[in-house]
């Protein structure tokens, strides 16, 4: 696999709220590239702009200045509808909570982006994903009949279902206990290793970040540091220096 291919990137990205005295720069000139098949964790204290960066990269929010690309597609040039279709076909999402549509079964939730597109799911691939995350016997259950961990596994499966060019995960384990959380993180790691999936994950948990290939540190809307092949300890060390 060619690791040189770019899955997504931001060029000189600014996101400014308010003006004058009340001006807040959530993103203050960010340049970052996410290579295909790479697992990136974005870390930073509250208010550092890590969620904003993710939202802007994913087409959920717009930049004040600069440009975000998914593949070669500049997001600012897309209409609302095109952006929606881009999300549907090329981006996967995993949120901290409330990842599933309560009226749909686990199986329906997983194939939701495909059915929204009116595409026949690749059943073999779906089955493989479901088996990998261990949901085979839960497929007809409604979200409220599933545990938090199971729900999150459904969310991971849904994100993988379309084989998107990039998956954005926003604190995917924030609401789970550590054992369940580690399971989810392993699945995500496996998706990168086995299927070459690109993942960008926002987290403030060092052990979660250690599953990634590299960790990007944000403070006050700027990239202040980067770490490759992290372990929980190296992440914690680096955080300490940033904090100090």
């Amino acid at each position: 696999m060619d690791t040189k291919t770019t899955a997504a990137r931001a060029e000189n990205a600014f996101k400014v709220y308010g003006s004058g005295d009340t001006e807040v720069r959530a993103l203050d000139g960010i340049n970052i590239t996410f290579a295909a098949g790479e697992y990136t964790a974005i870390m930073g204290p509250s208010g550092s702009g890590k969620s904003t960066l993710m939202h802007c990269m994913a087409g959920l929010d717009t930049l004040t200045d600069g440009e975000a690309y998914i593949g070669d597609q500049a997001l600012s040039t897309l209409s609302e509808r095109k952006l929606t279709l881009l999300r549907r076909d090329n981006i996967g999402f995993i949120f901290q909570t409330f990842n599933l549509i309560p009226t749909l079964s686990a199986g329906e939730n997983i194939t939701l982006p495909l059915t929204l597109a009116g595409r026949e799911p690749d059943q073999e691939w779906i089955n493989e994903v479901i088996t990998t995350v261990g949901l085979a016997d839960r497929i007809d259950h409604r979200p409220n009949e599933l545990s938090g961990g199971q729900q999150q596994r459904v969310a991971v499966s849904r994100a993988l279902a379309t084989r998107p060019s990039i998956i954005f995960a926003d604190e995917p384990t924030g609401n789970l206990d550590s054992v369940t959380g580690n399971e989810i993180l392993s699945f995500m790691r496996k998706a990168v290793d086995d299927y070459g999936q690109t993942i960008v994950m926002v987290t403030h948990d060092p052990s979660a970040a250690s599953y990634a290939d590299r960790v990007v540190f944000l403070v006050d809307g700027r990239i202040v540091d980067e770490l490759t092949d992290p372990t929980p300890d190296t992440v914690i060390d680096r955080m300490k220096t940033l904090g100090g």
């Binding site: 994913a58 929010d61 509808r81 999402f93 409330f98 549509i101 009226t103 929204l116």
Partner: protein
């Protein structure tokens, strides 16, 4: 707490507007009905005054039975007797003819208002006031007409007009135009008034040797009461002397009873609207409370008591109620005008007095506007009280409601009780009042019961209704899931639509049964080929046409026989009960109508002393062929008639049938209500083209007659069938229009619920949009959810409607409906209409949902 409540209200403007709209509509409807009928009352009171005139006393026959226009006339000799009584200054004999004096304009059209009567009078000097130098009619070929009729129809003084009278048509020269009631202002409610010189009028109206009444003026300074007594003594029993005041009251009472019918019918519709609105308001408050559950929990956590919480809900209801009442009263006054216009468009001629807002109306408006909102907020407020402080922290708190099993028992019990009351009302109650009370109470209980019950099957029902939709993709699957996910909400939203459609469905079944019975009778029991009736007959027995019409048709060789019919409601006394009566020319009627004679014969009956009776009545009274029957008529006479035939079909003649000879003996009215004719040589066995040829000949032959008498229309079987069906359909259309408002309110309810559901599901919508649902797909999902709810409500309503309708069809006397018929196609079209309505209701909520900012929606809590 007050400030918080107020802020909440102002914060949620759309929700407030939607809730208010339902209340405003109910208040406006009630106010509109009262305001309009009050204004009618005032106008009619004025007319009653003018009718009573300025004379002091009237002498007329005593009447115990029958319609005012069937009052027996006074012998002309009485005038001489009255004149000699001390204190009587002036005696004015009056003759009049009710609803059968019709002026024909220069183009040959009959001037006959539909609704108000066409009246004929002798000249009344103290009530008719000439305008523009016209003259009062004084010669046998002269007449005068009221100013309204003259102006509307371009009648010109000096021209000669044909006038249809009760006996014949005659030409008269118009010599004067007058105002009725006062010299300045004509007192008209759409009636037409033709006036003639006294002797001319008597001759033209067929009142030889008699007057309808004598108007007396008392010598100035004499005590009216003592003169009244003296005159009464002079004229003896059988006649009565009444004051102008008494006549005014009588007339006003008559008018009032008509207005009350209007009032009650319209109020029934207003009540339906109020009922539907109650559903919607209750539903809205329920949702509002569940929506604010975290906020209310927070208030509890920081120290608000449960009582304070529920009080804030009541306060919100009160504010909505007060606001809606004020707006509703304003709109109601406008609606009153609108209702009057609507009724006028439908063929009534209502006077256009100013719309009146009496204190009683305002009190009702407040009671309904505030009462209904307060009442609907009781359950939500009680639930709000039970919200625990912990609700502030847990986001997935749900309000406790009655369990579905409890609902099942409670709803079932209510619906069953309602059904029993309905049954009692339809089949066992005797007076009109008790029938209406039981039926209304029963229906309300059935509705509430069904609505209590329906959440327990709303989920499977929504799943089944939505099943075919899932073929159309994920949006529909989501719509179906959403419609099924909160059965209570779906059920109560659908409930409002259910009521309207139950009533529409019921009207449909009753209407279709009426039509079917009528058509079956026409096809099976009617042998006549032609039917002659007044242009605006309806079911008003006072609308008649003259015998001359019948004579002209009888003279045509194309027609073999003509039978005249007359009928009168409640003007006979048999065995102590008032009865309706029909008349026919017995010798020939069997050629025209087949009443399924069980025993005896009409053809061979003695027309002078014979009577025919329906089997049920015969059995009740133990009558058989040859039995004597004592019959008392409106003229006070009692005849002993002999039963000549017993018939089985009462859809033609009701229960009692006599010959026209008997009628002519006891009624002064000579006009004919209806006539049928057989075409010479016509038979159903003839080949089709010969039948058509005979009918064409008959049509050509009868045309000069209807041209001569534009007050009548003659129709063959096919035309008659069609025109009767049209009449019924336009009647049903009126009912549907009145029910439409309740459907509109139900739609507001659906829109309201959807808007709130959208709000509740903001995060879910955000998620859907994030993973790639387009705006269009989202709108579609909400639209179909709305359709599923609407169809659920429509089906529920139509099922109830069919049950109600069939029960009503069974309860309605066989003479009107003898078979229940369910118009499936029509009912299906209502479901389609409901589905479309659902789409309309979803427009705004769907647009709102699709415009949500994705990121905001996801982070919404």
């Amino acid at each position: 707490m007050f400030r918080l409540t107020l802020k909440n209200l102002l914060d949620k403007k759309i929700r407030f507007a939607l809730t208010t709209l339902a209340v405003v509509a109910s208040v406006a409807m009630v106010v509109g009905v009262f305001a309009m009928t009050d204004s009618l009352r005032s106008s009619f009171e004025g007319l009653a005054e003018d009718i009573a005139g300025s004379s002091d006393l009237s002498v007329r026959s005593v009447q115990d039975l029958g319609d005012e226009f069937d009052r027996k006339p006074v012998d002309e000799g009485v005038a001489g007797v009255v004149e000699t009584v001390d204190g009587v200054q002036l005696v004015t004999p009056v003759v009049s003819s009710f609803n059968d004096v019709v002026v024909i304009d220069r183009e040959g059209n009959a001037i006959r208002p539909s609704g108000p009567p066409a009246l004929g009078f002798s000249w009344l000097p103290d009530q008719f006031f000439l305008i523009n130098g016209g003259a009062e009619p004084s010669a046998p070929d002269e007449f005068a007409v009221d100013v309204e009729t003259a102006a509307k129809n371009n009648l010109i003084v000096g021209e000669i007009y044909n006038i249809d009278g009760p006996l014949r048509q005659e030409p008269f020269r118009l010599v004067g135009i007058f105002r009725f009631g006062s010299p300045e202002r004509h007192s008209g409610l759409g009636q037409t008034m033709a006036a003639f010189e006294l002797e001319t009028a008597r001759d033209f109206f067929g009142l030889e040797g008699v007057y309808n009444e004598l108007s007396l003026t008392v010598t100035a300074g004499t005590d009216i009461a003592s003169v009244q007594q003296a005159v009464q003594q002079a004229v003896g029993p059988g006649l009565e002397v009444v004051t102008a005041e008494a006549i005014r009251e009588e007339t006003a009472d008559d008018f009032n009873s008509v207005i009350s019918i209007f009032n009650n019918v319209l109020l029934a519709f207003a009540f339906i609207i109020v009922f539907v609105a109650t559903f919607i308001i209750n539903n809205t408050f329920q949702i509002v409370v569940s929506q604010r559950i975290r906020e209310l929990g927070l208030l509890r956590a920081i120290g608000a008591t449960g009582r304070q919480i529920s009080r804030s809900v009541y306060l919100e209801a009160l504010l909505v109620g007060v606001f809606s009442t004020v707006v509703g009263i304003g709109l109601g006054v406008l609606l009153g005008n609108g209702l009057r216009e609507l009724l006028n468009v439908m063929g009534f001629s209502l006077p256009s007095g100013p719309i009146e807002l009496r204190p009683r109306t305002v009190i009702w408006a407040a009671a309904i506007g505030i009462g209904v909102t307060m009442l609907s907020s009781i359950v939500p407020a009680r639930r709000a009280r039970t919200i625990a402080p912990i609700a502030a922290i847990h986001s997935d708190q749900r309000l406790a409601g009655a369990s579905l099993t409890r609902r099942l028992y409670l709803g079932g019990a209510m619906a069953a009780t309602g059904a029993i009351l309905l049954g009692l009302g339809l089949f066992a109650a005797s007076t009109t009042r008790s029938v209406l009370t039981l039926v209304a109470l029963g229906a309300v209980l059935v509705f509430i019961g069904t609505n209590t019950l329906s959440p327990s099957f709303a989920r499977p029902a929504a799943m089944i209704i939505g099943k075919p939709l899932t073929l159309f993709g994920i949006s529909c699957t989501i719509a179906r899931g959403n419609a099924a996910r909160s059965p209570r909400r779906t059920a109560s939203t659908a409930g409002a639509l259910m009521i309207g459609l139950a009533l529409v469905g019921m009207a449909g079944v009753v209407g279709s049964s009426l039509t079917k019975t009528f058509l079956t009778t026409l096809d099976n029991s009617v042998e006549a080929d032609y039917f002659i009736q007044s242009t605006s007959a309806g079911f008003d027995p006072s609308v008649t046409f003259s015998e001359e019409v019948v004579e002209e048709i009888r003279a045509l060789p194309e027609f073999e026989s003509v039978v005249r019919y007359r009928f009168s409601q409640g003007s006979l006394l048999i065995n102590g009960d008032t009865q309706d009566i029909f008349t026919a020319d017995l010798a020939e009627v069997e050629l025209h109508l087949d009443a399924d004679i069980e025993r005896g014969s009409l053809t061979n009956a003695d027309p002078v002393n014979g009577i025919a009776v329906h089997r049920d009545k015969a059995d009740d009274l133990g009558l058989t062929i040859g039995s004597p029957v004592e019959v008392t008529f409106p003229d006070g006479q009692t005849d002993t008639l002999t039963v000549e035939a017993v018939f089985l079909d009462n859809s033609l003649f009701g229960n009692w049938l006599v010959d026209n000879v008997v009628w002519e003996r006891h009624f002064t009215r000579t006009g004919v209500s209806f006539a049928s004719a057989t075409v010479t040589g016509f038979s159903d066995d003839l080949p089709e083209d010969q039948q058509q040829e005979l009918l064409a000949k008959a049509a050509a032959a009868i045309e000069p007659v209807t041209k001569h008498f534009p007050t009548v229309i003659a129709e063959n079987r096919v035309e008659f069938r069609q025109s009767q069906q049209d009449q019924l359909n336009s009647f049903l259309a009126v009912i549907f229009v009145l029910l439409a408002l309740s459907l509109v309110i139900a739609l507001i309810g659906i829109a309201n619920t959807l808007a709130l559901s959208v709000f509740e599901r903001t995060r879910e919508i955000g998620l859907l949009r994030a993973v790639g649902m387009t705006r269009r797909q989202l709108r579609r999902a909400i639209r179909w959810e709305s359709v599923i709810i609407a169809v659920f409500g429509a089906l529920l309503g139509l099922i109830l409607g069919v049950v109600f309708g069939v029960a009503a069809a069974i309860a309605i006397p066989d003479s009107l409906i003898n078979t229940a018929s369910v118009p499936y196609g029509q009912l299906l079209s209502y479901v389609v209409v409901a589905a479309f309505a659902g789409i309309v209701a979803a427009i705004l909520p769907a647009r709102r949902a699709s415009r949500l900012n994705v990121l905001d929606a996801i982070s919404h809590e």
